[in-house]
């Protein structure tokens, strides 16, 4: 029972890690990044390439994350420029199309060049005993990484001026401009952070499972779902939604088949969206 719960939390944290990037990019840039899953895969592929050329896995992982971030900056400063010229719904729609196109480009390129690709990190110890319960060390490591990332993110957003600036833009872009804040410059920074987190998610996927180049669309869809369920502008909500849906999925997978579990997950997500469209933790609409 606890094993399932733990498994659910591990999966849930991965989902949240993916989703929070989407939340941040939407909150700050008003663009829903349909290529987010591909950034995760990209980071993983970069790391794997480095490992296969002899780089130490840890270093390769960090480098992979950095690569995802750099790609994010490039995309924000070039591809998304046409979208940023508009506001509101037009920007959203244009951004949707552009990132959709980008997802195809990355997906197509990666699948073409590395069709047999599979990234798996193997830890020296397979199972660790925690309070008498044997748990997969990979799952623990992945969760630990996710928790550290989230903790840093929260600290950054709550305690630093830059973090508060970012929150202010997400909460009320007009209000932020009235304070003299330039949303554009902060946005590139956030896109970079968001895509780096996607990279982390891709690499941790290779840690407790395995990462394939075809997983991009699935990541994006899951990330989108979790982001929307959590409230597409709320970082806290995204974390809560991811863990919740991860637990739901873990229990469902255990008691029913994989397909039905996925369907249950999707229905749960839809139900939450219908009941609380503003987001799981929404307080002020």
């Amino acid at each position: 029972m606890t094993a399932i719960l733990f498994d659910g939390i591990v999966q849930g944290l991965q989902l949240s890690l993916l989703a929070v990037g989407i939340t941040l990019i939407y909150g700050l840039g008003g663009v829903l990044n349909l290529a987010h899953g591909q950034f995760a895969v990209f980071g993983g592929v970069a790391a794997a390439l480095l490992v296969s050329s002899g780089v130490h896995p840890l270093l390769a992982a960090v480098a992979g994350v950095a690569c995802a971030g750099i790609l994010g900056i490039l995309v924000d400063r070039t591809l998304l420029l046409p979208a940023y010229r508009y506001r509101g719904e037009e920007r959203l729609l244009l951004g949707l199309i552009l990132t959709l196109g980008l997802s195809f480009v990355i997906d197509g390129a990666l699948n073409y060049k590395f069709p047999e690709f599979s990234l798996t990190f193997r830890l020296p110890i397979q199972v660790i005993d925690v309070a008498g319960i044997p748990m997969r060390s990979a799952g623990l490591a992945a969760s630990l990484i996710a928790i550290v990332v989230f903790a840093s993110l929260f600290a950054f957003l709550r305690l630093t001026l830059l973090g508060k600036t970012i929150r202010s833009i997400i909460e009320n872009e007009v209000g932020a401009e009235l304070c003299g804040i330039d949303p554009g410059r902060t946005r590139t920074l956030i896109v970079c952070l968001a895509t780096m987190m996607a990279g982390v998610a891709g690499i941790t996927q290779g840690l407790f499972s395995s990462l394939g180049t075809e997983m991009g669309p699935e990541f994006t869809t899951l990330g989108l779902l979790v982001a929307v369920v959590g409230g597409v502008r709320s970082v806290n909500g995204t974390l809560a939604a991811g863990v919740l849906l991860g637990i739901v999925n873990a229990f469902a997978s255990h008691y029913v088949g994989a397909y039905v579990a996925y369907i249950i997950l999707l229905c749960a997500a839809i139900a939450t969206i219908l009941v609380r469209p503003a987001g799981l933790l929404a307080r002020f609409t």
Partner: protein
């Protein structure tokens, strides 16, 4: 002249709202733009702030032409705006909202914060409270306080008395009067005409997108058509 608007034409899409509007504000002055709903008062302030691009005409501030500047750039020049919707950050505390107001000049923040909290003691009391949980009057004070944190030369307010109880309105205007005495240039729009005219030096009457009357507030108070239209005196 600190703020000068010349021959402004502005609107939304193909709908023209402002027609050939010209107003000016001198340093240290308080001016009012009064008029009925839909006259274009908000559109005027938004155009000055760069939130809307005029189809014709110019906006000058402190000798500069503001054409093409983004809102945050205008704010950084010292011209701030408190919209009717206030646009606060509801899940952040009073203190954090104020902090962000000083974004353009972080070093001056502590001193300005002292000034603002002294001006609005109620905000000091509630400084760790979330902005979304404040009352209407307190939110208005916070919005003005946040604008003041930018150390502006000109403060523009859109219908500041909206949604406030009479006591809160009276207190608000008391503070505005203090700010005026301290040398701040104020531009405000109002539907509560007597209040606006009592605080300000000069006023413009905006109706259907055009300036119909302009003059000293004291003169306008005695103007019979103003009295009839806005003061309910027959």
């Amino acid at each position: 002249m600190l703020v000068r608007v010349e021959g402004l034409h502005a609107g939304y899409g193909l709908t023209a709202v402002l027609r050939d509007v010209s107003i000016e504000a001198h340093p240290g002055e308080a001016i009012a733009v009064i008029g009925p709903n839909g006259a274009g008062k908000t559109t005027l302030l938004r155009t000055i702030m760069g939130m809307l691009r005029p189809s014709r005409g110019r906006v000058h501030y402190d000798g500069r032409d503001l054409d093409g500047l983004r809102t945050f750039e205008v704010v950084r020049l010292g011209l701030v705006y408190v919209p009717a919707e206030r646009e606060l950050f509801p899940t952040m505390t009073v203190l954090e909202n104020l902090e962000l107001g000083a974004f353009r000049d972080v070093r001056a923040a502590p001193e300005r914060l002292r000034y603002v909290l002294e001006l609005f003691p109620r905000l000091e009391e509630r400084r760790f409270q979330l902005a979304g949980t404040l009352s209407g009057g307190e939110q208005q004070m916070l919005a003005i306080g946040r604008a003041l944190m930018a150390g502006p030369k000109v403060l523009m307010l859109d219908e500041p008395s909206t949604g406030l109880a009479p006591k809160a309105v009276a207190e608000l205007y008391r503070q505005l009067s203090r700010l005026k005495s301290a040398g701040l240039t104020i531009v405000l729009t109002e539907q509560q005409v007597p209040l606006a005219l009592s605080l300000t030096d000069r006023a413009y009457v905006l109706e259907q997108g055009a300036i119909h009357l302009a003059g000293r507030s004291s003169d306008l108070l005695g103007n019979p058509s103003i009295k009839k239209a806005y003061l309910g005196v027959t």
